[in-house]
């Protein structure tokens, strides 16, 4: 017997455009959709609070501009497109150059909205100050000058202005009268004949279980950053000292996977280098453009390893990851204790770092303060942090030029797509424009027996841990999360090797079978944690399994296999995708070219 929908949910909301995640991308898409003046009903759900949520607070990489000034707005394709997307050469087909070329052409599409809501992106004279990087082959990064004092082959990326951006965007969304559901987390995406028709969500304060029926959905849930523990903080703080927002449990990824979308490059985990006393910032991707790094003997790493790894640290894609690259041919580099020293920086470098640091999530700044503060003058050791999936590459695969996933009417943008935050704004605007056209001839789908069953299954799964009675033992969601993240740290981590990866997969499967059925939540907050840990377990398995399949090293240390330490050209342009078929995850190797 099928239960009636009304008995399964505490409320149903019908909307035209459902945006899942109210970060920078979600807010921008919502504003763009309503500012068109067309009659469209937009709903945004956010697990935290709209004004302060999201893994980006400032503009940082969200508005990156291409190569040379004269290239802005040009059509680019093929190898030019790969060049134009910063670092794409290094990516060698891990990212879609076709999609990046589209975004590149529309790089400044979001500026009118940013102007309208009064962000501080522009200077008083209306100009945008753009930081210059340089490029040498596939390496790009900190600005250098030639003998005539001119910048070497400059690239452009916008400077990290607009750190008040998230608050202003969130406030603007509310002022426009857009329906915003705070403290509401995605629990599943409901499909009908391979088409997304809505989502279920849980209010993490009240426990209300909602069904949001929508014509079109945008997944903007950000990266997945709760894959590894933060090693320098005690439990349970280490679970939430992430460089990005601590809410990023991968719920969007898992929702998309369960709905039938493909995830890709889940083996690629962004690695940052962070100095314990600030100096060298973390989340503010551009900080590393300004500071030179030294080893403990005071040797400048840039000079010591001119061609390799350390330094030439290039801003946004891929992160700061050259800095701590394990290198089998150059073991000395790895043994060097990397230090950053504010004392050796010039005043303009110091100013630049403060400037960029302020665009980090508040938590990161707080951490810097706890660790010695922004004023620390002494050299401090840098440590690698595994930040998670999605900042550089990996996430929900977009399968057409509208940034649509394999599930019809389910679009994705921002870090959840693994495109990095770069061009998040651009895609938010492009998707919103497309959605406006799409809903003209798109009717609300009717809810059939199959959909009611999906909602019923989700409800059963969501509330299962609440006040569960177990015969022997109860498992706390945070303790389980800590265990799973420790498994990832001990068995996957930076130095991946086959036997350890296999052990990680075995342990994660054991957890799924043995521990998840014993999860107990005593209240709605713990219930949220229980859902999150199940998402984390799901992503952990994908991460370990994909790492095992990719038998090469690429973008070290984003993916480094000790047993296959070299980049293998046969993997150029190949991505590992994961898709759920009849409840089982199937992996395949595909080409993005």
């Amino acid at each position: 017997m099928v239960t009636k929908l009304d008995n399964l949910v505490d409320g149903t909301i019908e909307t035209d455009f459902l945006i899942i995640g109210g970060g920078l991308v979600g807010s921008m898409a919502a504003l763009r959709a309503v500012q068109s003046g067309k009659n469209i009903d937009v709903t945004v759900i956010d697990k935290a609070r709209m004004e302060y949520s999201g893994d980006g607070v400032g503009i940082d990489n969200f508005l990156q501009l291409p190569l040379h000034k004269e290239d802005i707005g040009k059509d680019v394709s093929g190898s030019d497109a790969r060049k134009a997307t910063f670092g794409a050469d290094r990516m060698k087909g891990l990212k879609s150059a076709r999609l990046d070329a589209i975004a590149l052409k529309n790089a400044h599409i979001s500026l009118p909205i940013l102007d309208e809501i009064g962000t501080h992106v522009r200077e008083d004279d209306g100009s945008i100050k753009v930081v210059q990087g340089y490029r040498k082959g596939t390496v790009w990064g900190r600005l250098e000058y030639d003998e005539n004092g001119k910048p070497t082959d400059p690239l452009f990326g916008t400077f990290s202005r607009g750190s008040d951006l998230k608050v202003k965007l969130g406030t603007a969304v509310r002022k426009k009268g857009i329906r915003v559901l705070d403290r509401t987390m995605l629990t599943s995406i409901i499909t009908k004949d391979g088409k997304a028709i809505g989502a279920t969500a849980l209010n993490v304060r009240t426990g209300e279980f909602l069904f949001l029926k929508a014509r079109v959905l945008l997944l903007a849930t950000g990266a997945m950053t709760r894959l590894y523990p933060y090693p320098w903080a005690p439990f349970p703080n280490r679970l939430f000292y992430t460089l990005m927002s601590p809410v990023l449990d991968g719920g969007g990824h898992v929702g998309a996977l369960n709905a039938g979308a493909k995830l890709y490059c889940m083996e690629m985990c962004t690695v940052y280098v962070v100095s314990k006393g600030m100096n060298h910032s973390s989340g503010g991707g551009a900080c590393n453009w300004f500071f030179k790094m030294y080893n403990s003997k005071g040797e400048c790493l840039e000079d010591k390893y001119p061609e390799k790894i350390v330094t030439k640290a290039g801003g946004m894609i891929p992160g700061v990851n050259f800095l701590f690259a394990p290198d089998m041919q150059n073991a000395g580099a790895e043994r060097d204790v990397i230090m950053s020293a504010k004392g050796k920086a010039t005043p303009d470098e110091v100013a630049a770092v403060y400037f960029v640091a302020a665009t980090e999530p508040p938590k990161a700044l707080k951490f810097h303060q706890l660790a010695g503060g922004l004023t620390n003058e002494n050299p401090v050791e840098c440590v690698p942090v595994l930040a998670g999936i999605g900042m550089a590459t990996g996430g929900v695969l977009r399968e057409n030029e509208y940034s649509e996933t394999g599930v019809k009417n389910l679009f994705a943008a921002g870090n959840v797509t693994g495109s990095g935050s770069t061009r998040g704004f651009t895609w938010a605007c492009l998707i919103a424009d497309h959605v406006l056209e799409l809903i003209q001839d798109q009717n609300q789908e009717t809810i059939g027996r199959d959909q009611t069953e999906q909602i019923g299954e989700t409800r059963k799964w969501v509330f299962a841990p609440l006040s569960r009675k177990t015969a022997y033992y109860e498992i706390n969601p945070l303790e389980l999360e800590d265990y799973v993240r420790q498994v990832n740290y001990n068995y996957v981590c930076i130095h991946k090797v086959k036997p350890r990866l296999e052990r990680a997969i075995a342990l994660i499967r054991l957890v799924k079978k043995g521990a998840v059925p014993l999860l107990v939540a005593n209240n709605i907050h713990e219930l949220m944690r229980a859902i999150e840990v199940q998402n984390i377990i799901e992503i952990s398995e994908l991460h370990a399994q994909s790492s095992l399949i990719r038998e090469e090293s690429r973008l070290v240390p984003i993916h480094y296999r000790e047993d296959y330490p070299e980049l293998d050209p046969k993997w150029d342009g190949k991505i590992i995708t994961a898709r759920k078929v009849a409840g089982q995850v199937k992996y395949s190797v595909e080409s993005l070219y």
Partner: protein, 65 residues
């Protein structure tokens, strides 16, 4: 009491809406949340001259309109 004209952190003239925060009962006025945050975390102030110097050395100006 009249609001101060300048941001407590960066010292620049407040042109738009000011950011008003209360910390431990004391009222502070900033030009943006950006300045509040830097002040809150005790970041040394960047002077306007420092900023201009940084721009001069590291940035170029783009006009996109």
């Amino acid at each position: 009491m009249a609001e101060p004209d300048n941001c407590e952190y960066c010292g620049r003239l407040i042109k738009g809406a000011s950011e008003i925060r209360t910390r431990r009962g004391k009222r502070h006025v900033y030009c943006s949340e950006f300045c509040f945050r830097l002040h809150f975390y005790d970041a040394p102030a960047i002077s306007y001259d420092d900023l201009q110097n940084m721009y001069r050395l590291r940035c170029i100006s783009l006009k996109l309109d």
